[in-house]
Each structure stands twice: as C-alpha cells, then as structure tokens.
Symmetry: C2
DNA sequence: ATCAGTTGTTTTATGAGCAAAACATCGGTT
DNA sequence: AACCGATGTTTTGCTCATAAAACAACTGAT
C-alpha cells in the first residue's frame, strides 16, 4: 500500500477529540441553550483544564467563538463541520443497526469511531444507498428481506473464505 | 451522546500506526520474503528510528518476533490481527468502490482509515452483506441495477434533507 | 585494510490529548 | 465583610507517534 494513502490518516483536520468537542457544544446549545467550558468538560467527562486547552485551540482556529462572558458557540465553519459529522454518524449508525442488524450500542460505537474519518464523497454516497435501501421501493424491500432471511440461517452460505469468524476474531467484545 | 461511547475510541488496542506496522511486515514478507526495521520504515516512509521504537513495543507486546539476526516476522497473534484488519479493509474497499461507486483511490483511503476501528461484529456483518449484494442472486442484481440507475440520474430523488451536498461539504478533497 | 554505505538503536524534541493540581475570579450566602 | 462553590486558566507531567541527529556495528567494494 502506498504510504501516501495510510499517511492521510494523520492529515485529518478534524480529530476525534475535536469532533466531539464541537458536537458537544452543538448538543449543549440544544439541551441547555448555552455551552461553557465546564459544560463541555462535563459532557465529555474530561477535566476542565483539558477542555479549556482544546477549546482555546478551536477558538484560534475560528471554529468556536466566545461570548462577551465566556459563553461558547459554534462559528459558521464550526457549525458546518458539526452538520457534516452528525450526518455521517447518523447514516452509518442507521446502516449498521437497521440494515446489518447490529445492536444499537455497537452501531453507535462504530459510527462514533468513523464519523469524522469518512470523506464527503463517501458520506454522500452512503446516504444515497441507505436511503434507497430503506425506502418503500419493492426491489429494496425484497432484497433486504432476502438478506435478513439469509442472515438468520447463515449455514447455507458459501463463503469465499474458509472461516469468516476466524478472520474477525480480533476483538472479544 | 454518552461519554463511554466516544471514549471507546482511545481504548483501541490497535492504533492506526500499529495496524500499518503490522500489515507492512506482512506485505514485505510476501514481496521480499523478509522484513527488517529498515524495510518497514521504507514501506511506511518514516525514519528508521521511529520504526525501531514502534517495533520494539510490538515485540514487547508479542505481536512481532525477531529472528536470530534482526529479521522480523509476525507472531501468531500478530498474524491474526493482520488477517482481521486486511479482511475489514478489503470488504470496506469493495463496498465503497464496487457498490457505492467511489473511485478506487477514495475507496482505498477511506477503507484504510476505518479498517482498524470496526468491531469484529461489524466486519462480519458487512462481509455477509457485501457478499450477498455482489452475488449472482437475481434480487441482489436487480437491486444494484436500480440503485446505480438512480445514482446516475439523481435529480429524481426526494431527499430527507434539503441539501445533501451541503451536509457533506466539509472536505474539499 | 580502509572507506563508504546500510542498518539498528538511542537520545532529544515536537505536538496532540489527557489528568492533576494550583491559582484566580466571580456570585451568592450568611 | 467573609466565606463557599462554581468556573476558567495555567502549569506540570504523562503517553503515543513522529522527526532529527548522533552513534555503533556490520557489509561490500576497491
């Protein structure tokens, strides 16, 4: 694999931590109507000191703006980033839970892990796909019905690999 | 979102860096028949010093073993991890490229970013799904045909959101 | 046999994220 | 006015992953 591929991982402008600081502000604005450093720290269960430093950097990057009296809110850019991340999280979670039939917690965890890493292209195409897949379209319904049926009695399947479970036996959880 | 969800990100036993050190060894064994610290460093385009430190840690974790004369190879555990990661990478890349019709480079980049983050459950279910989706099954073929048709002329779509492109306009690349 | 190149390691430094602790500030009670 | 609690910041230290540079050891060519 070309190194320019795997190194793009580091070149993400939005880290996992930043993604959650931003979405925390967004959710706090909805829940409480405001968001201060302490509220973000509480929401993310990190210390106020850590949140203070991260948010200072986000203010410097222009993603978060501070009110006259220490009240935070998302800038236009910050807001667009949060929208993009939440859209990807939602569509991935929906796909994992409602299509692949993973339990809700697993779907949430996995969606949370990858939401900020998917490209805009991928997010858009996945949205198209899931939307059609879960629509009323009879072909989609029939396809899903057959897939779920096979999922239930998966002894019929002829796998391209000898032992699928062994391939994915890394994590115990 | 509960913090125990987003914090699971950090608790990954396999980091992106570790995943690629391990897969680099695997690929070098196939390409060259051997893998030394310098070979790994060259493959990943990092300095020998960095590779040396990371690989020392992987030896301590028992994922990499060192030959009598500085030749590296994967342990049984290391091998299982690489198999698991490559299986996930392959199925994600296949899905993004062959189903969602993303170009190969984008599919590779995105697959590379998420391969080590997906749970075993998710990898397994996704493999089931993609396998059925790309099989000869007439329902699957018809579903894909309809989906790709809609993809081409996507002005017909009635989106659940006003402007999908705007939701995913974060990245420029 | 010497000299150059490759290899592996160690040391020093950086940046991102975090915790812990010290510190300052502000607001409301008493 | 004195105190208490909540808040925000700074400092120090930690881990991970990297670079850069210095160093030692081996390899091969001349």
């Amino acid at each position: 694999m070309a190194s320019d591929v795997w190194k793009e991982y580091e070149s993400n402008e939005i880290s996992h931590s930043v993604a959650h600081h931003l979405t925390a502000i967004h959710e706090l604005m909805g829940d409480l109507g405001y968001a201060r450093v302490s509220d973000v720290a509480r929401a993310l269960e990190i210390t106020r000191g850590s949140a203070s430093l991260t948010l200072k950097a986000l203010k410097a990057r222009g993603l978060v703006v501070e009110d006259h009296n220490k009240f935070l809110k998302l800038s236009e850019d910050g807001r667009r980033i949060v929208d993009s991340i939440l859209a990807k999280r939602t569509v991935v979670r929906k796909f994992l839970n409602e299509v692949l039939k993973l339990d809700e917690h697993q779907a949430e965890v996995d969606a949370c892990k990858v939401e900020h890493l998917l490209s805009a292209q991928t997010g858009r195409q996945l949205l198209h796909f899931v939307h059609f897949l879960l629509s009323d379209d009879p072909t989609a319904r029939q396809f899903l019905a057959e897939f779920w049926c096979k999922l239930d009695q998966n002894e019929e399947w002829q796998w391209p690999v000898q032992d699928v479970d062994q391939l994915f036996n890394l994590e115990s959880r």
